[in-house]
């Protein structure tokens, strides 16, 4: 059985996004209502219907030899490494402790350069060989292998892909590993970088807006894509206390479901989303009345926003109009595999500091009177629990309940 006895706590946070290179710049930007969108410069997006994106700054990697190989790897790994280094620094884990530290990352994409290289080798006329190097680059496991090598992490490692909920699902898997004792700590989160491959794909689906996105707004026409990474360091509470680490939050409960209806469109009634949220609440042992606020998925696509609103109303019931809800995708864009993890970081910061960031781009709510949207300015909250949602292609739904560390009591 997976033990429920030991709470799983967060002891380190790291993030890189369109609002800046770290957690502090992310939080400042969210509270100031900044939007990190601009014309894409990382690749030639001229042929796409949309050229707007939330590009993150260059990851900061030391110049030491161990990391040099990663500079040649694609940006997804570099983002993950930068954010993981931030989280590890905050957690205080280092040296021999990393030998039993695991690593699980969520991601959705493949680097344009890697795919292009692999494609060239595969399609060359009369050429029947595929270089082992390009094949190894193509394999997504290279993401965690590279980051583990750079950080000196020796525990088990994994890459998960549940589309846009990958980052949050990776965090749930990490917690399960800790409960069965596979590792003493886990670096968990998500990372993705903006590519032509992805932008063109979402443009072909008419799922991106040529203007900055407007989540839950009646004028919304789709997402703005972003990039970056969000990382948490997770440990069992007794291990964190034994080494004097300060818990930043608690992973109290998780729920995951599948709509099992369509490859891209969500269940219009939000039933899968509601089931995931309910499962998370049940695992946390709380009711909807105890949720202090919700960090929504809120991509600004017509179908997803509607489904999420309906699903969350189903969960909240009478509290629909008094439980604040917001999304950060109007600030940093939809970071795909990194989205759920960055939003987990934001949820934990909101619990800690007592502020819920506003939903940038929401000026004319379509769902007025259905949920309590946080608009224009941050909202003061005093919450013991918060719910974070992430939904992805294929009907993947994930919800996690985070708790304020005050609830842990004295050591």
């Amino acid at each position: 059985m997976v033990s429920r006895l030991s709470p799983i706590v967060v002891t380190g946070l790291g993030a890189i996004s369109a609002l800046g290179p770290d957690v502090a710049s992310l939080w400042r930007g969210l509270c100031a209502g900044q939007r990190g969108f601009r014309r894409i410069r990382g690749f030639d997006a001229g042929g796409c219907r949309v050229q707007l994106g939330g590009e993150a700054p260059q990851p900061r990697l030391p110049d030491s030899g161990r990391w040099l190989g990663l500079r040649r790897a694609h940006r997804t790994a570099a983002f993950a490494l930068d954010a993981a280094a931030q989280a590890l620094a905050q957690s205080g884990l280092s040296g021999s402790a990393l030998g039993r530290t695991g690593l699980v990352l969520g991601t959705t994409g493949c680097s344009d350069d890697v795919l292009k290289g692999f494609l060239e080798r595969v399609r060359r006329p009369g050429y029947e060989r595929s270089s082992v190097r390009s094949l190894k680059d193509y394999a997504k496991r290279g993401l965690v292998d590279s980051v583990a090598q750079a950080l000196g992490v020796g525990g088990t490692r994994s890459v998960v892909n549940t589309a846009c909920s990958s980052g949050l699902v990776a965090i749930v898997l990490a917690a399960d590993w800790l409960r069965v004792g596979g590792c003493d700590a886990v670096i968990a989160g998500g990372s993705d970088h903006l590519t032509l491959h992805t932008l063109a794909g979402f443009c072909s689906l008419r799922a991106v807006d040529s203007e900055p996105c407007r989540p839950f707004d009646r004028r919304r026409r789709g997402m703005t894509l972003g990039e970056g990474a969000g990382i948490l360091v997770l440990e069992r509470l007794e291990d964190a206390r034994a080494r004097g680490a300060k818990p930043l939050g608690v992973l109290a409960g998780a729920g995951m479901t599948a709509d099992a209806q369509h490859l891209t469109a969500p269940d219009a009634l939000g039933l899968g989303a509601a089931r995931a949220a309910r499962a998370a609440l049940n695992e946390a042992g709380i009711g909807p009345e105890q949720i202090g606020f919700i960090n929504a998925h809120g991509t600004a696509t017509p179908h997803n926003d509607r489904a999420e609103v309906v699903g969350m109303r189903t969960i909240l019931g009478a509290r629909s109009l008094v439980c604040p809800l917001s999304t950060v995708k109007g600030h940093i864009g939809h970071c795909l595999g990194a989205a759920g993890a960055i939003e987990a970081v934001v949820t934990l910061l909101s619990l800690r500091y007592g502020w819920v960031p506003p939903t940038a781009g929401l000026e004319e709510p379509e769902f007025e009177g259905m949920l309590d949207f946080v608009r224009r300015v941050p909202r003061r909250v005093s919450a013991s629990y918060a719910l974070s949602n992430s939904f992805g292609f294929g009907g993947n739904n994930a919800s996690v309940v985070f708790a304020h560390p005050e609830g842990l009591g004295a050591p």
Partner: protein, 364 residues
């Protein structure tokens, strides 16, 4: 904390046909179930008999990546074998989960999409191919075609993706998030990979007997009590998982030290609370690569230095080499347990990049 799961259903898709009985027949008679000479012999994934065996219509699968098709077929067969024949997607089971393990994902669709993007420009990106190019597409199709409404996940851990998928499935059961979970793994073999390259020189060599292949398999996992309560037949019990890794980086090979394998093996035995002396058969990860095979043998000698060595099984000799073949090899080990492999089998997996996995299976 012990992690345990009962295997109640087996579904296999091979070049020679589909189904648990077919695999059992080939393994018991020692005949290779892999492609004999070239991948051109491999039936197209959307071949009508293949789909008919799983009760699937061509219309529902023609846009799927071939890997997704094989995953769905394997999942349907496993569910039928487990006694859930009506799992055709018309009814949603919120207590049933899906896990898919793959090393390289939906390559056919990804490369077709990328090719069009490169040749014609982003305005011609295919909106049908794009969602099917995502690695998680196969798991999504499994949930849709089999009505699996619980958690769904895809793991991309290279050659231990199958073993990881089994662990994730067992974790879902242990956490109480599902009452049953379908775990599937598979990969697409490319003609280009079959040709000799410096790193793959030993593969496909007539003397070594292993060739790249593209099998897919699915197992249905339930809790022991859940299986017992509905009177299900249990093929085997997964009773221990062990993992170990070296920090090679993406350009290096398999785990280079036997101690790494020993750590994974010891962790699996410790989790199952069983001594090494009880292992009757060691199902090797050996794939015809000197680096992997030699170190694995050293690890076996080291781990069993004070005990009688277990019998060694090399299922890849008959199954060929599919990168994420952990699930099909575990299926083979289940059948081996039923055919006289003793009470306890240790299944070993190893991956480029330095990670290895050990799983323990025992007779119910």
């Amino acid at each position: 904390m012990p992690l345990e799961a009962a295997i109640t259903g087996i579904g296999v898709v091979t070049p020679k046909g589909v189904g648990r009985s077919l695999l059992s027949e080939y393994l018991q008679t020692g005949r290779p179930v892999r492609s004999q000479s070239s991948l051109a012999e491999w039936a197209p994934a959307w071949d009508k008999p293949l789909l008919a065996a799983a009760g699937l219509a061509l219309s529902s699968t023609r846009r799927m990546d071939p890997l997704s098709v094989r995953a769905v077929v394997a999942a349907r067969l496993a569910l039928a074998d487990a006694g859930f024949p009506g799992q055709d997607g018309t009814e949603l089971d919120p207590g049933a989960g899906a896990v898919f393990g793959t090393a390289y994902g939906c390559q056919t669709t990804t490369l077709r999409y990328a090719r069009k993007l490169a040749d014609q420009g982003p305005c011609f990106a295919n909106p049908i191919d794009f969602p099917d190019s995502i690695d998680g597409a196969a798991a999504a199709h499994m949930t849709i075609e089999c009505g699996l409404g619980g958690p769904s996940m895809t793991v991309l851990d290279g050659e231990v993706a199958g073993e990881r998928a089994l662990q994730v499935g067992a974790l879902m059961l242990g956490a109480g998030r599902v009452t049953r979970v379908v775990v599937t793994a598979g990969d697409q073999a490319w003609q280009n990979l079959a040709a000799p390259t410096p790193g793959l020189a030993s593969m496909g060599h007539p003397q070594c007997g292993w060739a790249p292949d593209q099998l897919a398999a699915a197992l249905v996992l339930e809790t022991r009590s859940g299986a017992a309560s509905r009177g299900a037949r249990v093929h085997a019990l997964l009773c221990g998982f062990g993992w170990a890794a070296e920090s090679h980086g993406r350009s290096r090979g398999y785990p280079s030290r036997p101690e790494t394998y020993c750590r994974a093996i010891s962790e699996a035995l410790s989790q199952a609370q069983l001594p090494a002396s009880r292992v009757g058969v060691f199902s090797r990860a050996a794939a015809g690569w000197k680096e992997l095979d030699r170190v694995e043998l050293e690890a076996i000698e080291l781990q069993w230095a004070n005990h009688r060595l277990p019998r060694l099984a090399v299922l890849r000799n008959l199954l060929g080499y599919t990168p994420s073949d952990g699930v099909v090899r575990v299926a083979g080990a289940c059948l081996g347990l039923q055919a006289g492999w003793g009470q306890l089998v240790l299944h070993q997996g190893a991956a480029l990049g330095g990670q290895c996995a050990s799983l323990l299976l025992r007779r119910p």
